[in-house]
C-alpha cells in the first residue's frame, strides 16, 4: 500500500520543531523527520518513546560479566587447575580486570549492534533519502494528513506559516513508513 504525504523543507531546526508541534496539536500524524543533525524537542513533538538501548546495553554487560567470570573460573579452577606461584586456583581478585573488560566489550557491541539492527543501518542498505540536501542543510518534515480533519491546502499553509521554504505532496510506500516506526 502507498499513501500520500506532505514533505516540507525547512532551513532551521527550531522552525521544524515548531511546525511539528503545531501538527501534533492538530492531531496530524507525523511520519518522520529527516535532519542533518539532531534537533532537541523533536522527540516530544513526534511522540517518540524513549529508546530501549540502555536495556540492551545493561543486558550485554551482564552477559559479558558472567561470561568473563565463568570462563576464568572454569579454565583456572575446574578444567585444568594450574599452580601459579602458589596462588589459589579460584583467585577472584585477579579475575576482575578481564571480567570488567569483557563486560564493557559485550555491552558496547550489543548496544552498537542493536542500533544497527533497529535503525536498519546495514552495508548495502539504501535509506529513504527524501531529499539529498538532508545531509547538508535542510530539515525535512513528513506528515500524513490521511484521516485528519484538515484539507491539503490548509496543511500546506500551516507548514509554510511555520517557515517551510518548500512543500510538496508525495506518494510513499508503506514499507518505508511502517518499517521504521
Amino acid at each position: 500500500m502507498s499513501r500520500r504525504v506532505h514533505v516540507a523543507l525547512f532551513e532551521d531546526g527550531a522552525e521544524l520543531v515548531a511546525a511539528a508541534n503545531a501538527c501534533s496539536r492538530l492531531r496530524i500524524p507525523i511520519v518522520d523527520a529527516y535532519l542533518p543533525f539532531p534537533v532537541h524537542g523533536l522527540d516530544e513533538a513526534m511522540g517518540l518513546r524513549r529508546s530501549r538501548l540502555p536495556l540492551v546495553c545493561f543486558g550485554g554487560g551482564l552477559v559479558g560479566l558472567s561470561l568473563g567470570l565463568a570462563l576464568q573460573y572454569w579454565t583456572s579452577a575446574v578444567d585444568w587447575p594450574l599452580n601459579v606461584g602458589g596462588k589459589p586456583f579460584q583467585s577472584f581478585p585477579a579475575f576482575v580486570p578481564v571480567a570488567f573488560e569483557l563486560m564493557v566489550l559485550c555491552a558496547g557491541l550489543a548496544t552498537a549492534g542493536a542500533l544497527f539492527v533497529r535503525s536498519r543501518l546495514l552495508p548495502g542498505h539504501v535509506g529513504v533519502v527524501v531529499d539529498p540536501r538532508v545531509s547538508d542543510d535542510r530539515f525535512v518534515l513528513v506528515v500524513a494528513p490521511a484521516g485528519a480533519s484538515i484539507r491539503a491546502a490548509d496543511l500546506r499553509a500551516l507548514l509554510m506559516e511555520h517557515g517551510a521554504i518548500e512543500c510538496r505532496e508525495q506518494i510513499v510506500t508503506d514499507r518505508h513508513v511502517e518499517a521504521r516506526s
Binding site: 531546526g13 518522520d32 529508546s51 570488567f100 535503525s119 543501518l121 552495508p123 529513504v128
Partner: protein
Amino acid sequence: MALDHAVLDVADTTPLIGGGKTIGQVTRDVCSPLERSPTRLWYGAFGAALTALLIGAVAVGYQLRVGIGTWGLDRTVGWGFDITNFVFWVGIGHAGTLISAVLLLLRQKWRTSINRSAEAMTIFAVMCAGLFPVIHMGRPWLAFWVFPYPNTRGPLWINFRSALLWDVFAIGTYFTISLVFWFIGLLPDLATLRDRASGWRRKIYGWLSLGWDGSARTWSRYETCCTLLAALATPLVVSVHTVVSTDFATSLIPGWHATILPPYFVIGAVFSGFAMVLTLMLVARKVMHFEAYITPRHVHAMCKVLVFTGSVVGLAYLTESFTAWYSGNPYERFTFLNRAFGPSGWAYWVMVLCNVVSPQLLWFRRIRNDLRLVFVLSLVINVGMWFERFVIIVTSLERDFLTSSWSHYTPTLVELGTLLGSFGLFFTLFLLFCRYLPMIAISEVKGVLPGRHER
C-alpha cells in the same frame, strides 16, 4: 570536575566556530578538501611518513629473521624500547577517548571541532602500541596463544592471574570499542559525503554509511547509543592504563612495585594524549585551513587541561620520591636516587624539565595566545612523556638487586628503526584519514552553531 572548571574559564565572548558559518558552509568547508586532489604539502608529508614506515618494516623484518638478540636487551634489562614505546603509544590514545567520551558526558561543546581526529588518533595510536608487545614475543606468528581457545595442548589455558594477559583484554576491548564509537560517529558524515559524491566515491561512501538517511528516529537512537558508548568508554579508558600500570606494579622491582602507579599512569596518559592532540590540531588547522573551526578558544581549553594534568604528573613524581624516602626501604631509596643521579640521570631531568616545568608556562595567557609557542610546548611534552616511560622502565631494571648483575641499556639501530617505524605507521594512517574521511565531525559542529534566530 577540574576539567569542567578549566573550560568554564574560557567563557570568552568569541563564538566556538568563527566566521559566522552557516550549516551549508560547514558541509562545504569540511568536505571540499576531500574532493580536491591532495596538496603538495600532503604528498610531502605522506612521503616522509611512508619512508619512516618502510624503515620500521625493514627493522621489524630483520629482527624477525634474526631474533630479539638484535635489541640492546640483556638478562638484567629485559624491557627497553619495546615496552617504553608500547606504554607511550597507549597513553597517546587516551586523550581521544577523553575528548570523545568524557567531554560528551560533561556536555562540553568545544569538543565537537576536535573529537573526530582525536578519536582517529586513539585508534592509530593503539595500533602502534599493539605492535610492540607482539614483536616483543619474538615469535609473533604464535601471538594467538594469548587468547583462551580450546587447543591440542591439554587444553592448557592462559594464566588469567597475569597482568600481561589483562593487557591483552584491556587493549583489545579498548581498540574495538574505540573503533565502533568512531565508526558510529562517522555515519552521518559519511552520508553527507555520499550525497555530495558521484561515481565510485558515491558507491564506497554509500556502502560505508550503511544507508543513513537522517531520520529523526535514527537520530534519537543514535544519540542514546553515543551516550551509552561514552559512559562505557569512560571507565574503560581508566581501566586500560590502570591495567598497563599493573604490568609494573604487580612485579617486585623497586620503582615499579608501588600503589601510586595506576592513577599516575592514567593522568600521564591524559597529559601526553592532550599534547599529541594539540600537536596534530595545530598542524591540521594550518594545513587543512580549519582556522574557523579550531579556534584559539579550543587551544586555550586544551592548554588548561595540560597545565592541570602536568601539575598532577609533577605531584606524582614528588609523591613517588617522598614515599621512596619515607618507606625506609633501602632498595626503594637507592632506586630513586639512582634515577635522578645515576648514569641515566640525564633522562630523569629531561623528563622533569619537559613534563613538570614546561607546561607551567601555559599559565600565561600571552604564551597560550602564541600558537607557535604552544606547538613547540606540545612537542616538548610529547618528548618528556616518552622519557617518563623510559625512565620508569630502564632505570628501575638497570640496577638489579645484586651488583654483579648491574647493566647498562643502550638501544640498537634496529630498536631506533622500529620506533621511527611506529611514528611512520601513525602518521601514514593519520594522513590517509585526513584525505578520505571528514576530519571534523560535520553533524556535531552543525549542532553547536547558533540557530538562525539566535544569530
